[in-house]
């Protein structure tokens, strides 16, 4: 018998037992539904995590701090006493947090490490305020350095490569507060940042200066960014200049808590991290951050896939049972076909294809419903989780097809035992009527 004819007859047999076929397919359909959704969730989750990391860190970046044993009692050091995270605010905070400052010596030492391209201290100058018109002054909660490798989304304007030393990237909140009607209006306007030089000894009125910047872009709220979003961004040189101006002459001068190391190749980030840790630094790569997120995603994905696999396992027994009963019910049919010259192998194929049809039907329906349900649910999920226009369920066509194909194969495997029974059936026994 030709394979095409066997497949057609297999499909017809199933159609003649519609209810049973559908019920058997249902179990495998539940499995297909769960597995398809979990794979889509895993894909979406990983893409999302990847996007988060790309929006917040440079994959070539290794963030370095110098950490001492936190639980150990610290000796008082007048050098670090005036230094705290964020710099500028005097107090013993640093010593108690167990963080030692990174000095210029450290930076030179880190620069020598193999695969390190550059080391930039994290200048985050504590400036006084920012103003556009000279009258309305606003506190600057965070002023950071711009990194070209970090993906930002812009409400207006944009940055081509590096930021010039007299340029600034605002965010939407500041653009509005500074009195610009729209983000577009802010672009090309001048804003002024005021900074005060810190004093070690109080000498009356402190020295202060204004620095002008041209707005090149306004960054927009993104579901991805957590570092850059709240910060106003200026070039490293501009930040250094402000930082030095503020801290020069104090204990905090040329001492930093965080340095950013750029590695020649993202592949080598791990190597550099290990070397730096050997030298007593504490280092974190982009992968460390991504790794934590991915572990979470993978655990969740694993649980969901487990449920799907369980449903598939159940359906395997369903298929064996259904097909076995079908063989028993159709002994006469099998006997007749064999009497008419159908080989045992072809009879086996007939039942194998029936199992395959069940797998195809269940897999197709389950995966199809998952894609439909997921596509409908995506905007609501993103809304509920505040992801903006990022979708959490991403259906890769190849993955969906793969799920169906694998379920067909599993169904065929489940159908082997009943098919073998059918192929071995003795036609004389089967056609005995008394």
């Amino acid at each position: 018998m030709k394979v095409a004819d066997i497949i057609r007859r297999a499909g017809r047999s199933l159609r003649q037992a519609k209810t049973r076929t559908l019920l058997t397919s249902l179990a495998i359909g539940v499995g297909a539904f769960t597995i398809t959704l979990s794979l889509a969730g895993g894909q979406g989750g990983r893409d999302y995590a990847d996007a988060i990391v790309k929006s917040n860190t440079d994959v070539r970046e290794v963030v370095v701090t110098k950490q001492t044993d936190e639980t150990a009692v610290q000796e008082y050091d007048p050098d670090t006493a005036g230094l705290s995270l964020g710099a500028g605010t005097p107090g013993p905070a640093a010593a108690s947090s167990g963080i030692e400052p990174i000095t210029m010596t450290d930076i030179d030492q880190i620069t020598e490490v193999e695969h390190v391209d550059s080391v930039t201290p994290n200048y985050s100058p504590q400036v006084n305020y920012i103003t556009a018109d000279g009258d309305n002054e606003f506190v600057v909660s965070s002023l950071s350095t711009f990194a070209p490798a970090v993906t930002l989304t812009y409400a207006a304007g944009g940055v081509d490569g590096e930021l010039a030393d007299d340029q600034i990237v605002l965010n939407e909140d500041y653009a509005e507060a500074l009195g610009f009607a729209s983000p577009e209006d802010a672009v090309d306007q001048t804003v002024t940042i005021n900074a005060t030089r810190q004093q070690t000894v109080f000498t009356g009125s402190p020295e202060a200066k204004d620095v002008d910047f041209t707005v090149v872009a306004v960054s927009s709220e993104s579901g991805l960014a957590f570092r850059s979003q709240g910060s106003l961004l200026i070039s490293t040189n501009a930040a250094k200049e402000l930082y030095d101006y503020i801290t020069e002459g104090t204990a905090a001068y040329n001492k930093f808590f965080i340095a950013s190391v750029l590695v020649d190749d993202p592949e080598n980030a791990g190597l550099v991290k290990t070397e730096l840790e050997n030298q007593g630094y504490s280092a974190q790569t982009a992968e460390d951050i991504l790794g934590t997120i991915n572990i979470f995603i993978n655990v969740l994905l694993g649980i969901l896939l487990g449920f799907g696999a369980l449903a598939v396992l159940t359906s395997v027994f369903g298929i064996i049972n259904t097909q076995y009963i079908s063989v028993l019910e159709r002994t006469q049919q099998i006997g007749l076909m064999k009497a008419l010259g159908m080989s045992g192998g072809d009879v086996g194929k007939l039942f194998t294809f029936e199992a395959a049809w069940i797998g195809f039907l269940g897999g197709g329906i389950g995966a199809g419903l998952a894609v439909i349900a997921g596509t409908i649910a995506n905007p609501y999920i993103s809304d509920a989780l505040g992801l903006g226009d990022i979708y959490l369920l991403i259906f890769e066509p190849l993955q969906v097809v793969g799920v169906v194909v694998i379920l067909i194969i599993i169904s065929i495997l489940a159908g082997i035992f009943p098919a073998l029974k059918a192929s071995k059936l003795d036609p004389i026994e089967a056609l005995r009527t008394e």
């Binding site: 018998m1 006469q332 049919q333 076909m337 008419l340 010259g341 159908m342 080989s343």
Partner: protein, 237 residues
């Protein structure tokens, strides 16, 4: 030509051995209609199964057109049956859920007849048993006589050389049975096919060219054979 040589078929083992067919031999020329006549349990069906290669008797040969089909591989016997033989059973064995068309198409599919040639053959076979108008009806909706006519259509669709009929009218009243018999004999006559009818019905046996009377697994007598090869072998009876 079908030559049956010293066929012996036993069931069971050792002390429980039951001899269903005991050293049976005969020769059927091509194009003849032969009745295998005997009471219930005499071994008629067993003999037919052996002759068609459905069953493998412990001893003997079944030589059809010079080939001993009992020596063929099971795949080749299957192919042989698909090409050359056909069956009609007492209980019809039509597929109740399938259309008459699909029922009749089955042997063609098994014999790997291309799809393009099937339609014409199926319709010709259905016409021959006057069921063409029921082409699309499901077999379950047919009467008993119609079901057996459908079985005949299925049996003749691939134009077999040998037609086996095991109590073909056993489940039918005499009128419908007579109609069914006519279809069978007409096909055999028109095609020059060999028809082997297994029956306990004297009237049906009388319509055949020859007959083999069988009792308790041995040939009791034969009539209608030109030379009577079986008479000589009947010593064991």
């Amino acid at each position: 030509m079908i030559e049956v040589k010293h066929i012996t078929k036993t069931y069971g083992k050792k002390q429980n051995t039951f001899i269903a067919i005991n050293d049976v031999s005969f020769t059927i020329p091509n194009g003849k209609s032969v009745a295998i006549l005997g009471k219930s349990g005499s071994g008629k069906s067993t003999l037919m199964h052996a002759m068609s290669g459905l069953d493998r008797p412990q001893q003997g040969q079944v030589v059809i057109d010079g080939r001993d089909i009992l020596k063929l591989k099971s795949k080749d016997v299957d192919a042989f049956r698909a090409q050359k033989m056909s069956f009609i059973f007492q209980s019809f064995f039509v597929q109740a859920n399938e259309s008459c068309y699909d029922n009749v198409s089955l042997p063609l599919e098994i014999a790997k007849v291309p799809r393009s040639k099937r339609r014409q053959k199926v319709e010709a076979a259905l016409s021959a048993v006057q069921l063409l108008d029921k082409k699309k009806s499901r077999a379950r909706d047919l009467s008993g006589g119609q079901k057996q006519r459908l079985a005949i259509a299925r049996a003749i669709v691939n134009e077999p050389d040998i037609l086996f009929a095991d109590e073909p009218t056993g489940n039918l009243d005499s009128t419908t049975g007579g109609v069914v018999e006519d279809f069978l004999f007409n096909y055999a006559k028109d095609r020059g096919a060999t028809l082997i009818v297994v029956t306990h019905d004297e009237d049906l046996a009388r319509k055949c060219d020859a007959r083999i009377n069988i009792k308790d697994g041995v040939i009791e007598s034969t009539t209608g054979f030109a030379e009577r090869p079986t008479k000589k072998k009947k010593v064991m009876g």
